[in-house]
């Protein structure tokens, strides 16, 4: 069994570990991987390499552009048929595997339980798949009468020259519903991240702004980058509703295309997962003048802070009072559970390698119950998610990034909210921060090890060095880590638990960590006879 290190006097210098990791690599790889590892110093501006190609042959945890586009951003919206154009696998693997919960009303469309595919065969690869795609769209329309259809390109589509955008335009005209395509072939980018960007562009172009409906309700907000894994968005909806915020649309969890169509009438965008959705936030600000703020509803303190930040923006006494009332009531519940779990959790060590925001957000949640994060990194983030948006102007645009279109967005003269722009300026003058993601590294401990796109070999070495009490990652790492005697918490799927967002979520997570950090069975891994002297003899053997 794993024996623990004493880290009560601060984290050990990880240089030795880094050297050991790199020693295994051929020189060129060692040089590249070295730049993706940083021994953190929160007081310094340190550069980390991120959003670059994974080296072939390396066992990475990353997925593809299609996964980011269809799986992550478009997947959680229920009133659209997401039609995957390609061989069957891509649609199959993204079929209900991400735990985006949704709550359609009786009689309302919900296509999320279905997998739709053109199931391309070899003749479609040889002769082209556009005709089959058109037929599939017609058949989907005839059978299901959706109001929108999204078309997702898989690897072969771009190569054989199928033009999904032309097909989408043609079918849109023919059927009279909203149909749009995504060039999200798996190879387009270095990770899922490219797919997020492509999805943002598509949703902004084809959905946002389709309905300039009259405004209803006060304090209108959108929640961006919240995917309702395990019901996270439900908990936030509960809080917003009670406080008096009007949530127009979530991108994308428990979401509908219908709501996204009028999301541009909001007064404020709140960004949870900066990596996957900042593009829409930026474009909505440029076009419609809606400011955005970074929020974090993972952790009780973070939730309180984020609610206060939103209330402060609207500067309304009644709203502020309600928010404070909620915080006071919920924090009392949170504090009670925190006290209960602390004996089991305080002083424990965690590491997390996941996503483009969760590896940061969950550190706050761990901190609340006395767990120290010794090492962390993202799977598909960019430098700004580590170092903060201040580095954006310095990020070198490489060929892979150039590959993904940056939409040029201009001001909508009719709908642009000058009042919000003015409000923003005023608040900024008083020190309120907008568009303000500071990244993961400034908040991490000195000497904690930050690693981007961590791979299998590095994971093994990290466990050996830190002997963490809990490791947070995804399904591919889960049983590898657990076989080493360390419990793993999945932070993509929550191990079929959750919600972990908001106050209720924090309570759920505290309790989950209490369970994981005091699981009895780990003490029974070694059979009792392993610690006894070996018995020599043949008394019971019947010869």
């Amino acid at each position: 069994m794993v024996k623990k290190k004493d880290m009560s006097k601060g984290l050990p210098d990880p240089s030795e570990l880094m050297d050991e990791i790199l020693a295994k690599y051929p020189t060129k790889i060692a040089k590249k991987r070295k730049k993706a590892m940083v021994s953190n110093d929160p007081k310094e501006d340190q550069e980390i390499q991120a959003n670059v190609r994974t080296i072939p042959g390396i066992i990475t945890q990353r997925g593809c552009t299609y996964a980011g586009c269809k799986g992550v951003v478009l997947g959680p919206t229920r009133d659209i048929i997401n039609l995957v154009h390609g061989p069957i696998g891509c649609s199959f693997y993204a079929w209900l595997t991400r735990r985006n919960q949704t709550r359609p009303a009786e009689g309302e469309d919900n296509f999320m339980t279905y997998a739709f595919s053109t199931d391309m065969q070899d003749e479609n690869i040889v002769f082209g798949g556009e005709a089959k795609l058109k037929d599939a769209i017609r058949e989907a329309y005839e059978m299901f009468q959706p109001k929108s259809i999204g078309i997702f390109s898989t690897c072969p589509v771009g190569l054989i020259g199928d033009d999904v955008h032309a097909v989408a335009r043609e079918m849109k005209a023919e059927l009279g519903i909203n149909i749009f395509g995504f060039s999200c072939e798996g190879y387009r980018g270095v990770s899922q991240s490219a797919g997020h960007h492509i999805a943002n562009n598509g949703v902004f172009t084809h959905v946002v702004g389709n309905n300039d409906r009259e405004r209803e309700g006060k304090f209108q907000v959108n929640l961006l980058g919240e995917y309702n894994i395990g019901g996270d968005a439900f908990e936030l909806e509960r809080l917003f509703e009670e406080a008096g915020f009007t949530l127009l649309s979530t991108f994308s969890g428990n979401s509908t295309i219908k709501n996204m169509e009028y999301s541009h009438t909001a007064d404020l965008n709140m960004v949870m997962c900066h990596r996957s959705i900042n593009y829409i936030a930026e474009m909505m600000e440029e076009k419609y003048g809606i400011p955005w703020v970074k929020v974090n509803f993972i952790s009780a303190e973070g939730t309180a802070k984020s609610l206060r930040k939103a209330a402060e923006y609207f500067d309304d006494a009644e709203l502020t009072a309600k928010v404070e009332k909620i915080i006071k009531r919920e924090m009392a519940k949170v504090e009670k559970v925190k006290k209960e779990v602390e004996p089991k959790t305080t002083g424990k060590l965690a590491m997390m390698f996941v996503g483009g925001s969760r590896a940061h957000h969950y550190q706050d949640l761990f901190k609340e119950i006395g767990v120290t994060t010794v090492s962390a990194g993202y799977e598909f983030a960019h430098r700004d998610d580590y170092e903060g948006r201040k580095v954006l102007p310095n990020i070198k645009i490489d060929a892979d990034t150039r590959n993904i279109e940056d939409l040029s967005v201009s001001k909508d003269d009719k709908l642009f909210r000058d009042d919000l722009a003015e409000k923003k300026q005023k608040l900024m003058d008083s020190g309120y921060a907008f568009s303000d993601y500071e990244g993961m590294m400034p908040e991490m401990n000195s000497n904690s090890l930050v690693i981007d796109d961590v791979n299998h070999w590095e994971t093994e070495k990290l466990i050996e060095f830190y002997k963490p009490d809990v490791f947070c990652a995804g399904i591919k790492e889960k049983y590898v880590v657990q076989k080493s005697g360390v419990p793993l918490k999945q932070l993509h799927s929550y191990d079929y638990g959750g919600p972990y967002a908001g106050f209720e979520g924090a309570i759920n997570f505290y309790k989950e960590m209490e369970r994981m950090l005091s699981t009895n069975i780990w003490k029974m891994v070694d059979a009792p006879w392993k610690s006894e002297p070996e018995i020599v003899g043949s008394f019971a053997i019947n010869e």
Binding site: K24, T54, P56, T97, F116, E139, C155, G474, V480, V525
Partner: protein, 460 residues
């Protein structure tokens, strides 16, 4: 309703697949390669494929599933993936040190025309394959066949690379396993040992995807068919392929390459298919059937006679892979159940022929279909037309089960919401008992939950 848009209005579709009863080739190649000892599968394509396949296999087995990828970018997609694969092979041997790398292609690398054989040969001449190490390959275009096709292609790739005929016959048979669970592999080995027939089982995922907790992670677990075993397959007396879809290609390759004659049998699921398997073993191994096997058979027959009243006439819908569905359907019919709806996304002409032969007079109302147009949505629509008493298939059936309130037994791939398949086999007579027990459990649970209180029974 979870599948609220599904109606009973079946309409011929020529282009749209909804809720597939199959997935793509590479995941099968990855699974097959995990059944050889010391092997790291490698996916030659974009990294999403590898990620999806590892995730699916991990969810199914709750075990580590390791594989590497060529991590294609736009550039490799345009100029070819040769340099990615060459670099990948070199890196894998220096960092992860497997004995064997099993490379499979993807729709991406196949579409651009990468020739795996040529690239792997270049890796050898470039010195990227260390002495005593091996790289094998299989072309697995995702737009042909299904996950079963990929499994079959990798098995063929394995025997083509390793099996060697030295003209010195070895007193053993080759047992080529179709796509079955680690528990099933173990059960096959147990049956072979009861029969007293020496054999090489290929692949063998037992002790690879069902490993014990020891507190220490081992990248290459102790299970899997070994290199000497695979080499020796060329000198075996005979090959028995279990499952036409999964094993025929490898059996033919062994015959062509090493002159090992073969026969293709059904997977030993249920009574008759197991009978045929035992008879084949008895014949090719020149052994008589031991009393212990007779006992096991007798136990299964005994349980069927005892429980016949609960199963008789029950209408069943099944989906999955032909190699499983054919003997399973036969088993159900032998118990006087009515497998009325059967779909498999895996193409193959003999499916229809076999199903007709099994169902023909016994269940004339049965509808069955395989290939690209046969999906779970079609089967669900059939169920909407006239319901069934039992569903048997992979985890995706749970949505139909809940919407239609139909008892559900999980069999097939993937099962991602329950455990058991790794440990408890459905092969052989004992496996037949397991299937019987699982069906009875859900049927009786359904009766207990839904019958009027006055007819609630204590005993059966």
């Amino acid at each position: 309703m979870l599948l609220r848009h599904t109606t009973d209005k079946v309409k011929e579709r020529k282009a749209l697949t909804v809720n597939p009863a199959k997935t793509c080739q590479p995941v099968g190649a990855m699974y097959a390669a995990l059944g050889i000892h010391g092997c790291l599968p490698h996916s030659h394509g974009s990294q999403g494929c590898c990620s999806y396949h590892r995730s699916t296999l991990t969810r199914h087995y709750k075990e580590p599933v390791m594989a590497a990828t060529s991590s294609f970018t736009e550039g490799s997609s345009v100029f070819g993936g040769q340099s990615n694969l060459l670099q990948g092979i070199g890196n894998i041997f220096s960092i992860y040190d497997p004995d064997i790398i099993a490379v499979h292609s993807t729709c991406l690398s196949e579409t651009i025309g990468d020739d795996l054989g040529q690239i792997v040969a270049k890796a050898r001449t470039d010195g990227k394959v260390p002495e005593g190490k091996h790289v094998i390959q299989a072309a697995t275009p995702s737009y042909v066949g299904s996950h079963v096709t990929g499994y079959a292609n990798m098995l063929e790739g394995i025997v083509k690379y390793f099996a060697t005929n030295t003209d010195k016959l070895i007193n053993q048979i080759n047992l080529l396993a179709g796509w079955i669970e680690p528990s099933d592999m173990k059960e096959l080995k147990r049956i072979l040992s009861l029969m007293g027939v020496n054999s090489v089982l290929l692949p063998d995922t037992s002790d690879v995807l069902d490993t014990p907790m020891t507190g220490k992670y081992t990248m290459y677990p102790k299970g899997g068919t070994t290199i000497p075993e695979m080499v020796s397959m060329g000198d075996s007396l005979y090959s028995v392929g279990l499952g036409e879809w999964g094993t025929q290609k490898a059996a033919i390759a062994l015959d062509n390459q090493c002159k090992v004659k073969f026969s293709i049998e059904d997977l030993p699921i249920g009574l008759k298919a197991t009978d045929r398997f035992i008879q084949t073993l008895s014949k090719v191994g020149s052994v008589s059937v031991p009393e212990s096997i007779n006992d096991e058979r007798g136990k299964l027959v005994d349980a069927i006679t005892d429980m016949h009243q609960y199963l008789y006439g029950k209408r069943v819908a099944l989906w999955g892979d032909p190699d499983q569905l054919i003997p399973l359907t036969e088993f159900l019919v032998d118990m006087d159940m009515k497998p009325v709806y059967i779909v498999s996304g895996t193409p193959g002409k003999s499916f229809d022929k076999r199903m007709k032969a099994i169902l023909g007079d016994r269940v004339p109302e049965a509808k069955f279909k395989n290939g690209a147009a046969a999906d779970m949505h079609l089967m669900h629509q059939w169920i909407k037309e006239e319901s069934v008493d039992l569903l048997i298939g992979n985890t995706y059936g749970k949505y139909i089960s809940r919407d239609e309130n139909i008892p559900f037994v999980r069999m097939g791939f993937p099962i991602i919401d329950r455990i058991g398949h790794s440990y408890f086999s459905t092969m052989g007579y004992m496996g037949g008992l397991r299937i019987l027990e699982k069906m009875l459990a859900v049927i009786m649970d359904y009766q207990d939950a839904n019958c009027p209180e006055e007819s609630f029974e204590l005993t059966m």
